[in-house]
């Protein structure tokens, strides 16, 4: 039986892997991160039902490990794809983790003893710190430690310390690791695979709001992106779920969400990112649940409540939780130096003149951009998403035969739509995999 390669292990990639594995097909799942999960693993709760993201995702992640025919290739990126449907040759660069994952059991002893304590924790969007050796998040799959070479004293010693020291520095993790898994000598590795079909599920990245200096992100301490806020309300987040301001650790009393930051804007991205209206609504509800006296206001252009249960969710937010929606274009955010509060200057479209309001926390609902720069010979849309060749007659197929695309990298979308596409692509990839092992008659 031939196999299928999935690039990207977000919710879409995971679903595709499980569907393929269920049919007995061999699956390689490559992710550049040390764990699968994608963006959904960062989320606290999910709209419109408010069920907790990891509660529903973690079982799927864990299920990957139950299939012997799924091979996870983490911390890796695809370097080259050649060949054609039925017989693709893929070259994968496996970056060193400096930990032998066949030995590591995820006990996390090393991460408690490592002396480098001030590395910004990516999983918490830099709102907390981690060690140089770390496990991406508590429910990571696979749950394995990885050394961040750049910050590791041993692998990248500070020049001064290096001069003074005689031998190699630190080495604490190697000493404490009960399974002798640490391997400072690990080298990048090239993995070559032959697969019948590929599924691209590389998802999205958040657009950098520093491109809009007027919003003050990165300058004003209490301006957050929505993904940062997601971590902030999460029980597994930097503050264990307490919503506090970066500047003074106090609970905010007035929070504003700014929609369409980088989306629907001819200067940046033309498209609508499709998740952020509902995400902001969700986050405002969560804020209300955490801090009952907080005032939540959402500045928007259109509230896009288009999916199943979305408009009902929006109505609840307004009526039951008293979330305030203002149709207005935010022009500028200024920081008040004494209080670190934020002055939002916006054009209220209802009255067509500039208004000002003060908040003590601001969340930017930023655009997403596709992770589509891949060494895979597929066409992109004008907006940079991976193009579906003929979405009506040949759904989820790219311009290259045998290569499929699912999830947010094929267009901004939410979880259910990503999952639906994943199943569809899994079946089409399975067909190719099976065709090349036991030819069946195919009606195309």
């Amino acid at each position: 039986m031939s196999s299928v390669l999935i690039i990207g292990g977000g919710v879409a990639g995971i679903q595709a892997a499980l569907d393929l594995a269920e049919q007995g097909i061999e699956v390689y799942l490559v992710d550049k991160a040390p764990s699968v999960g994608g963006k959904m693993a960062y989320l606290d709760k999910t709209f419109p039902t408010l069920d907790c993201a990891l509660c529903i995702l973690a079982p799927k992640m864990a299920a990957l490990l139950r299939y012997p025919n799924i091979k996870l290739i983490m911390n890796s990126e695809v370097q080259d794809v050649s060949g054609r449907a039925g017989n693709f040759k893929v070259k994968i660069l496996k970056k060193p983790t400096y930990v032998d994952w066949s030995k590591c059991n995820g006990c996390a002893v090393c991460t408690e003893k490592c002396p480098v304590k001030d590395v910004p924790n990516e999983y918490n969007m830099g709102l907390s710190n981690r060690r140089a050796i770390y496990i991406m998040f508590p429910q990571a799959v696979p749950k394995r430690a990885i050394i961040d070479a750049e910050h590791c004293m041993r692998l990248n010693p500070p020049p001064k310390a290096k001069e003074k020291a005689k031998g190699p520095l630190c080495g604490v993790c190697q000493r404490v690791c009960p399974t002798k898994a640490i391997d400072y000598e690990q080298k990048p590795e090239i993995i070559e695979l032959n697969v019948a079909s590929l599924i691209i599920a590389t998802g999205m990245e958040l657009y950098d709001p520093r491109n809009m200096p007027e919003l003050g992100y990165g300058k004003h301490q209490n301006v957050y992106t929505n993904l940062e806020f997601e971590r902030l309300v999460s029980a597994t987040g930097p503050t264990n779920g307490e919503i506090v301001r970066k500047s003074d650790g106090k609970h905010p009393k007035k929070i504003a969400w700014i929609q369409c930051v980088g989306s629907r804007d001819i200067r940046f991205n033309h498209y609508c990112s499709a998740y952020c209206c509902m995400a902001a609504t969700k986050q405002a509800i969560l804020a209300k649940e955490h801090l009952s006296d907080v005032q939540c206001t959402i500045y928007y252009m259109d509230i896009r409540a288009f999916g199943k249960g979305f408009n009902e969710f929006l109505e609840r937010a307004k009526k039951e939780f008293g979330i305030n929606y203002i149709r207005g274009k935010v022009v500028r955010i200024d920081e008040i130096p004494e209080t670190k509060n934020l002055k939002i200057i916006y054009e209220d479209t209802a009255e067509s003149y500039l208004k000002m309001d003060e908040y003590d926390m601001v969340v930017l609902s930023v655009a997403i951009t596709p992770n589509s720069k891949l060494p895979v010979p597929v066409e992109l849309t004008e907006d940079g998403f991976i193009k579906m060749k003929d979405p009506y007659l040949d759904p989820v197929s790219t311009s290259a035969e045998g290569i499929f695309v699912v999830g947010a990298v094929a267009g901004a979308k939410d979880i259910p739509d990503s999952v639906t596409e994943a199943s569809a692509a899994a079946a089409r990839a399975a067909l190719i995999a099976k065709r090349f092992s036991c030819p069946t008659e195919v009606v195309k």
């Binding site: 039902t49 408010l50 069920d51 649940e289």
Partner: protein, 145 residues
């Protein structure tokens, strides 16, 4: 700690069908609705599974109220007509309660769909209020185990 005014807190046993009512009780949770903690939920696959004997046992053991809940008639029951069977069984049963000195209000047969978390909350609230009015149950009956 100062003495708290101790109000009578009734205890309610709920037999909830897996597909509708149990799902509604879960939804009430995921939607973070709030209701008094007086209920204890026992999951059965269908309201048709609930044996009146079991309900009697609950009363005998000290339940102040019992709710049997399933999917809406006519067509919601996952097993076609288990809810209808429950309906017939418990309408009869309700009449027998009086004879045993149990007020009929202590027993409710409810239809709560998987989407009706708020209905579930309402039923609990109503029942708790009702039972507080009635006070604790002092059964005068013997039930075989």
């Amino acid at each position: 700690m100062a003495e708290q005014k101790s109000e009578f807190e009734p205890k309610i046993v709920v037999y909830a069908c897996n597909w509708c009512t149990y799902a509604a009780t879960d939804l009430a949770g995921t939607s973070r609705m709030s209701y008094p903690p007086n209920v204890r939920i026992i999951r059965v696959m269908c309201s048709g599974r609930v044996d009146p004997q079991l309900v009697l046992q609950a009363f005998a053991d000290g339940a102040d109220g019992v709710i049997v809940a399933g999917c809406h008639p006519p067509a919601d029951c996952h097993y076609i007509e288990g809810n209808y069977k429950a309906y017939r069984r418990f309408e009869l049963f309700r009449k027998l309660l009086g004879a045993m000195g149990i007020e009929q209000e202590r027993f409710r047969l409810e239809w709560i769909s998987a989407a009706e978390a708020s209905r579930w909350v309402q039923v609990v609230n109503e029942m708790v209020a009702q039972l507080k009015k009635l006070g604790p149950l002092k059964p005068n009956m013997e039930v075989r185990e």
